[in-house]
């Protein structure tokens, strides 16, 4: 098990955004996380990353309890994420966006200051390779804020991968994409599994999730209401009620 969420809970004042969630993701698995808006999906990602403090529960990663680790430490351990509304460093170039996120094996061993200066040849070649993989080489020195939307999404994905994660959290990566771009995304996500990366995928785009995920968990009002293979989940009456209303489920 790469990721084990135990009793994950987050309250914002009176709002129970996430309410006692138990979830686990196996190595090289792609777990889809779906649910109506406001069901707590993005909050779960923020909790796994440590951007929000937990109200209760534990986050166990690769067997170690990381619930009290700061966000950057979790990234060094191997967790990376993308953001639902793209959060690139708009004033930095495409190349610099990848550079700051770079987290290669050699860097994990370097101390703080040396990582800061990070300019080894191998590191630079790695960034160039990533740029090529994502079709962004020609925009290498362009400010990230000036890219087209599709390019920005690709850069966001590339930046997350620069951190060399074992677990990748994708927060609605297909939002705003056309059919062609979604097909491309489908292939990229499958390639992740081939490369041994575990994926937690939040998505509204049902076809993509059904196509790519090994298992799916469904959230509603901060609680898990179903979990299983895509087909099983599709047939679950409670899931249908959550999405379509009780009349449709009947």
């Amino acid at each position: 098990m790469v990721l084990d969420l135990q009793g994950l809970t987050k309250h914002f004042g009176g709002v129970r955004a996430v309410d006692g969630i138990d979830l686990h993701v196996a190595r090289s698995e792609i777990l889809g996380l779906i649910g109506p808006n406001g069901s707590g999906k993005s909050t779960i990602i923020n909790l796994i990353c440590g951007l929000f403090p937990l109200t209760a529960g534990r986050v166990v990663f690769d067997g170690a309890d990381i619930s009290n680790q700061p966000t950057h430490a979790r990234v060094t351990l191997g967790i990376a994420r993308t953001f639902q509304n793209i959060r690139l460093f708009g004033q930095l170039t495409v190349w610099q966006n990848l550079w700051v996120a770079q987290n290669s094996g050699e860097q994990r061993n370097q101390n703080f200051f040396w990582r800061w200066l990070g300019g080894s040849r191998g590191a630079r070649e790695e960034i160039d390779r990533t740029l090529e993989l994502f079709g962004l080489s020609h925009k290498r020195d362009e400010l990230a804020g000036n890219l087209a939307f599709g390019e920005q999404r690709r850069l966001e994905f590339a930046r997350a991968l620069s951190a060399k994660p074992t677990l990748l959290l994708l927060d609605e990566p297909a939002a705003g994409m056309n059919a062609e771009e979604i097909d491309e995304l489908d292939i990229r996500i499958r390639n992740l599994r081939r490369d041994g990366i575990t994926v937690l995928l939040i998505e509204h785009h049902v076809e993509l999730v059904m196509s790519v995920a090994d298992r799916i968990a469904v959230l509603n009002f901060g609680q898990k209401i179903a979990e299983g293979t895509p087909i099983a989940v599709q047939a679950d009456p409670e899931v249908r009620a959550a999405y379509l209303g009780t009349a449709a489920a009947a």
Binding site: C49, L51, F83, L92, A101, L143
Partner: protein, 299 residues
């Protein structure tokens, strides 16, 4: 001739002050505490050369270390306050430093003179340069050697991953954290570096003016410190230098003939500049364009 040398000295020292704010501003922290670190550097260096007979360069080193250490100490509580609250907190710190020196007296008898800081009267007789035969030209060259050194250091930092990391933190802390950046370490380091640079600048300032007092290190100086990098643009150290030359050279000195109207123009020009070019003289687009121009010229 001495007048122009004096002007170059002022421009040099103010550039160092501006550069100290530049580093901190990159991380998104608007710090009006730089004048405070400047003051600390001034008094420490002055006291070391006057009261303890240190040579000037080790004294500057010591003022850099002391100012840097205090900046580091300030950097940690500064993490707890964001954005505009930080502006107020740093104003308060700067004013506290100024008021401390307003009340600070430590005098030593030397012959028939009393030397050392003397409360509201300030610290007079910081005469290391004249006593050791430095001419105005020597001092000016020394100042600009330091300016060149500091600018080179920051320019190099800017090109390295550290520069991109600083700017990433300044732009989006959540995204920076999620990319594996330790924002606490980055922000405190930036504040410390700013303190070190300001300390050096203050030490030099004390020696070339030979007389420092608390009034000089108030909110106005603190505002100038951040004004230079903001007006010059945060995309390049040269922007800060340009801004200092423009403000000190052109506005304050060059428009002397305008008499009192000069000050009015000063405020109006700042307002106009921010409306017309909000990202400063040398913004990211301009810097990229200049780079491309230089590269294409080389071919």
């Amino acid at each position: 001739m001495d007048f122009y040398l004096g002007l170059l000295q002022i421009i040099g020292v103010h550039t160092i002050l501006g550069l100290s704010a530049y580093c901190v501003l990159l991380t998104g922290q608007v710090s009006l505490a730089q004048a405070g670190f400047f003051a600390i550097g001034a008094y420490v260096a002055g006291m070391l050369t006057v009261l303890a007979q240190w040579p000037v360069i080790p004294a500057l080193g010591a003022s850099a270390v002391v100012a840097g250490a205090i900046a580091c100490a300030v950097g940690f509580p500064a993490l707890r306050v964001k954005g505009l609250m930080l502006v107020v907190a740093t104003i308060a710190f700067g004013e506290a430093v100024r008021l401390f020196f307003f009340n600070f007296t430590y005098q030593v008898q030397a012959g028939h003179l009393m030397l050392g800081p003397h409360g509201a009267e300030g610290f007079r007789q910081i005469r290391y340069f004249p006593e050791h035969g430095w001419t105005t030209l020597d001092v000016m060259l020394f100042i600009w050697a330091v300016v060149a050194l500091v600018m080179a250091a920051i320019w190099w930092l800017d090109r390295s991953r550290a520069g991109a990391v600083l700017r990433a933190v300044g732009e989006d802390e959540f995204a920076a954290q999620s990319s594996g950046i330790n924002i606490t370490a980055v922000k405190v380091s930036a504040m410390t570096i700013g303190g070190v640079i300001a300390g050096i600048g203050g030490g030099i300032f004390a020696h070339y003016t030979t007389h420092i007092e608390h009034v000089q290190f108030g909110v106005v100086l603190a505002t100038f410190a951040v004004a230079y990098p903001i007006l010059g643009g945060l995309s390049s150290v040269f922007g800060t230098l340009l801004a200092v030359i423009f403000i000190q050279g052109f506005l304050i000195e060059g428009l002397r003939f305008m008499g009192d109207w000069r000050n009015l123009l000063f405020g109006a020009l700042i307002v106009l500049a921010m409306n017309v070019r909000p990202r400063g003289l040398l913004d990211a687009g301009t810097v990229l364009a200049l780079k491309r121009l230089i590269v294409s010229r080389k071919d």
